[in-house]
């Protein structure tokens, strides 16, 4: 019993310390990873609104039987290379988490690598998703030129 209390206190103390250091750190640091990711999400939101929204809808819920949702699918949350390639090459006739969809996903290669990184970072952090950012470097490695 004592032991649990003790470790509990330690736990709390640890977090208190962590938040304090995080808070004190903030104003000092240069654009941190989090502010970068937030900026990327904001840019990605705009990219989403120009094209993806037509099929995947404002809530990322897709259209039953036609366009898949972007909510916690194995593609959205899974391997980033595979995800980037869907945008670069398009997709058709593939079952998604056990469902079939009667429409095509066009390649969106008109977008820059930065836009692709941004829109995927946005998708992976919206509609109830929480996953790491897709970086420009990761897109560059799959499409060297743009």
């Amino acid at each position: 019993m004592k032991k649990i209390l003790y470790s509990g206190l330690l736990f709390i103390a640890f977090f208190a310390l962590k938040t304090v250091t995080a808070q004190t750190k903030k104003p000092l640091a240069k654009p941190s990873a989090t502010t970068n990711i937030n900026a990327s999400i904001q840019r990605g939101k705009a990219v989403y609104a120009t094209l993806c929204v037509a099929c995947h809808q404002v809530d990322g819920g897709g259209v039953p039987n036609l366009n898949p949702p972007l909510i916690k699918t194995s593609y959205v949350l899974g391997d980033k290379k595979r995800l980037i390639n869907i945008l670069l090459n398009g997709m058709q006739g593939v079952d998604i988490d056990g469902e079939t969809y009667s429409n095509v996903m066009p390649p969106v290669s008109q977008f820059s690598n930065q836009q692709i990184a941004d829109v995927l970072t946005y998708v992976r952090n919206s509609f109830g998703n929480k996953a790491s950012a897709v970086t420009l470097t990761e897109v560059n490695s799959l499409r060297p030129k743009k």
């Binding site: 099929c55 404002v58 039953p64 006739g93 009667s102 095509v104 390649p107």
Partner: protein, 422 residues
Amino acid sequence: MKNNHTRLKIATLSLALLCSITKAQTNKKAEQFKLPQGFNISVAADDVGRARHMAITTDGAIYVKLARPVDGKGIILLEDKDGDGKFNQSSGFGNYGGTGLYIKDNYLYASSNSEVFRYKLDKDQRVVDPSKPEKIVTGLIDRRQHETKSITLDNNGNLYVNIGAYSNSCQEADRRAGSPGRPDCPILDSAGGIWRFKIDQLNQSYNNGSRFATGLRNVVGLDWNQQDNSLYVMQHGRDQLDMFSQFFNSKQSAELPAECMYKLKEGDNAGWPYMYYDPFKKKKMLAPEYGGDGTKEANNKFIDPVVAFPAHLAPNGLLFYTGSQFPERYKNGAFVAFHGSWNRAPQPQEGYFVAFVPFANGKPSGEWEIFANGFAGVSVVNSPREAVHRPCGLALGKDGSLYVSDDTKGTIFRITYNKNSK
């Protein structure tokens, strides 16, 4: 009368309840069904599967085609044995999904997404041998876009089958921003039109059927009009004009082109993919894939629509009303079931209702109007999956009731008329 009224109340109440449960978080108000005075709507059956088109027997039983088989059954039979208005599934057969279903002269015709079958019916219009249909059409294109095959029959032994185009607008790269149209669109050789076959020959395909009409992107709702002995179809118009953002913004893309009703004669060309119909200009416009810019008109050889409805509403059912239960103005008029749009985002989606167009002497005799609304269960549909029900098929009961299928929750609705009810 009272009975119907209570039934409607129960239906609306349970819908409201359902909506308040599913929509509690989004805080949207559930909407009640709205119909003209004297009409009632009730639930005939529920949770039957992804109900597409229906066919009703002489004694009032309902065959329903399911988009996907449930327990290996793609066609189900619903019967109301005690006459209380509630239908129960009494049998099922046909291990294939699909949309088309039609009864004529003691045969039940049914389609998968690539074939058409027919089943002999007995004197009560029950299928004689569910395991042995005749396969009358086979080998039709199914490329997982506009793949459903709707069917209807004329009075001369012909079957009409929609073969939808496996493309949005015949671009070099389908649905890709700015991609040009393929010259002399090759899709039209095997899709993007209505094909005609004989009702009594086995294993017909492209080589022994004929292309009855072309230039139709995709048709789901179609019906044979007995009054002027002609085929009428509802086209699903093209999507995403804003792939050509130099000519169309997202609002224009949401409001163009019209969903068109066409009357088809043999050899007609409705113009897909070369044109689209602008319901505001009331003109046939050249598609941007083929040099259009929103102002250039299309070649005048393409036929004009009979009725132009708002864009993207997805007409999935068409029925000319030949019953005698409804008031006189509905006689021979057209009911259209709209599945509801998806291609209007980021604007709210529209449709999800049954419309009516009065007809006289084989022509519309007035403007179209919303006949039955409230299927979506929410007042605004921001994303199609919010809709509780999506109207799909229409069928006429022997007593003149109108049945509406819903392929989302699997509800079969029955609409009746009683001039004394409010």
